[in-house]
Amino acid sequence: MKLNLKIWRQNGPQDKGEMKTYPIDGVDGDMSFLEMMDMLNNQLVESGESPVAFDHDCREGICGMCSLYINGEAHGPDRGVTTCQLHMRKFNDGDTIYIEPWRAKAFPVIKDLVVDRSSFDRIMNSGGFVSVNTSGNTVDANSIPIPKDDADKAFEAATCIGCGACVASCKNASAMLFVSAKVSQLSLLPQGKVEAKERVLNMVQTMDDEGFGNCTNTGACEVECPKGISLENIARMNREYLKGALTK
């Protein structure tokens, strides 16, 4: 395949940035999107140009590091996958592909397609945990049975990879889906219930402080989330928040 790539280039946080065009040839359908980017970069390096910076690591959809906005969609046109799992067979010979970084106030661009998502970590630091020491001197793991349904739901919520596609797809750049996934996971489990109220209040506070927008229920996040994190989590978090706020 021959493709025409339009890629966002931005030298640093202060740089204005612009879209640049890169034609590329010899792409085959079995290549992943990032392997196509590797090919481009190796060509750029060997011809003395500067390669395109982008984030990635595991390349199997689990670390949450890759983050491209492709043809106007977070993680590209395929559903239920991250950018690193997207394969070139989803594109056609001659296509023009637009590649941009996540765009959100709380995710400033560092360079080209690389953004700073440390705001997510700061939300977690404010409450995304159970306050238990790691001494191992806890109760036996089977001493509190957990209904399978709750365990399964908690697991579903816990599969969030923290990629930020939900924020990037949301016109308000809201982080509700991400935050609600963690709040839900822990509020569904007996171990997390103890501090459920403080958790949700603290995490929502940090989310607001970090400059994420409000949720207006457009649902774009759920559509683009590569892990299928459901809007139900947002509803659950809203209930938890109300409970927390009322008893505070």
């Binding site: 390096v45 945990f129 020491n133």
Partner: protein
Amino acid sequence: MSVLDSKIPEGPIDRKWSDYKNKIRLVNPANKRNIDVIVVGTGLAGGSAAASLAELGYNVKAFCFQDSPRRAHSIAAQGGINAAKNYQGDGDSVFRLFYDTVKGGDYRSREANVHRLAEVSASIIDQCVAQGVPFARDYGGLLDNRSFGGVLVSRTFYAKGQTGQQLLLGAYSAMSRQIGKGKIRMYTRHEMQELVVVDGKARGIIARNSVNGELERHSAHAVVIASGGYGNVFFLSTNAMGSNVSANWKIHKKGAQFANPCFTQIHPTCIPVSGENQSKLTLMSESLRNDGRIWVPKNIEDVEAIKQGTKKPTDLTEDERDYYLERRYPSFGNLVPRDVASRAAKERCDAGYGVNATGEAVYLDFAAAIERYGKEQAHVQHVESPTAEDIYKLGKGVVEGKYGNLFQMYYKITDDNPYETPMKIYPAVHYTMGGVWVDYNLMSTIPGCYVAGEANFSDHGANRLGASALMQGLADGYFVLPYTIGDYLADDIRTGAIPTDTTEFDEAENAVRSHLERLIDVQGTKSVDYFHKRLGKVMWNNVGMARNEKDLNSAILEIQNIRNEFYSNVRIPGKIDELNPELEKAGRVADFLELGELMAIDALSRNESCGGHFREESQTPEGEAQRKDDEYGYVASWEYSGNPSEPKLHKEDLVFENIKLVQRSYK
């Protein structure tokens, strides 16, 4: 520094750890506040160590090269974590887990370390559940287990195909709590470049901030390296793209010996290589071998027909298939250990029975499992005389529940639907048992420099059993290191903060700067990947699944050549003081180019087959690995001599007092 002192405590095996813990020196809480510890790596080992050390009261500085500690490569572990809980009542015990692990490692690990691992395994599960890790449960609400290769009990805890993710998020949450309290200072997008040694003790690191390229000095009273494994020396592996040996290699060059570098695990079930532009290989978890059956066609004509597309695998009848693991190893069948399963696949493919275009693939088939589960479900749900389609649907539902995300991953990569046609799989580099030599306290040969998780050589001998790496990483970080490091730090309560404006820090920083300048100044014509791929090919062909003297000798020469060419013809664009992913890669590949040679030297010097290390010169008449305990019953530990081609060998003899050595058999 030549005699290796493993510091294994005296006493009977099942008392060593508890007695030792009772006698170990402690640091009082007020003094811990004056002690700093650096932890490089935030995977299961580093993350759990950082959280635990911070909880104890030390000031922790943690480093990772990703943009968040949650993204460490442990996140990708799929299948599960072992623990001797015996919840299934199937005869499991601490001793059995200990025994299985020593035998699985083909008797090349330390008994005392492995026993300790088995002892603390149960606490790991308790700990993780308390943190809110959502392990799989049965309908009664209790924890579920599955089986992994090389054992006859069900002791593996799991969270679908995302066990590593859930465990790492647990450790990350424990870290987050300490970061929130200010007890851990987290440095993301930072790469350790050098260890700083002051008066013979590890006292700090030089790290490069990859956002702006600045070299930073960080001091501490002890340094913990938990930087993961080095499988990426093969270029193609199941490791994440950034996984590297550099932190390990830097300490090696500063005096830490590197043990059993050639012990590499080649995992039998990975998606086969598809093309030249491929950047990594994807694992299909070993847990799939609980239900999947491995086979190739019995007749070579069918192989040809499948390759030409005139036959499909599903067209072949049962007698036209060779379930070669079940045939060769009737008692363990598809659940033989990884090294055995990988070699068996290679044997069939070398004989011409590989089922894809490159001839390097075998089938992993779920049809029988789907049918079995379907019938079971039909019975449970009282479906009267179910049709084949009913059974398929019900069975598919069960398989999806167990392995859904793996099947989806497979489908996305290959465009083949594994519910309908068998998966194609082939062995790929996965894990490295070798690593920095550590004593019982997890301290390397540099005082104050500890190594945990996959980065140390530790507990898995010559072959790691499935679901044991997660166990080891968390054991090291939650339950071993927090004790053993105290014994060392007890001497530092009056030392005070370590200054960074000293000649030792100056020298270390200058060395890093000149190395980076040397790389960037080459301005040759080839990208870093070009050299990395070439190195990978040599490693895979000559230092891979089967090794022999001739190929190893030629690998050594070839690696030296590639290394020389790298330093005269690599092209790294950009500058040192900016975000520069090519420079980061170059630094890692430079270290792989030295490590690769050491792996070949080590493989050459060990003229026996054991675990994942298969020397063609040393096999039984049936083609199984032939150990030579009298000659090679030791850990090969290599000291850096100043020249990567001339390492110095030290031996730690392995003493087995509790387990009798026998030739491993899974027949």
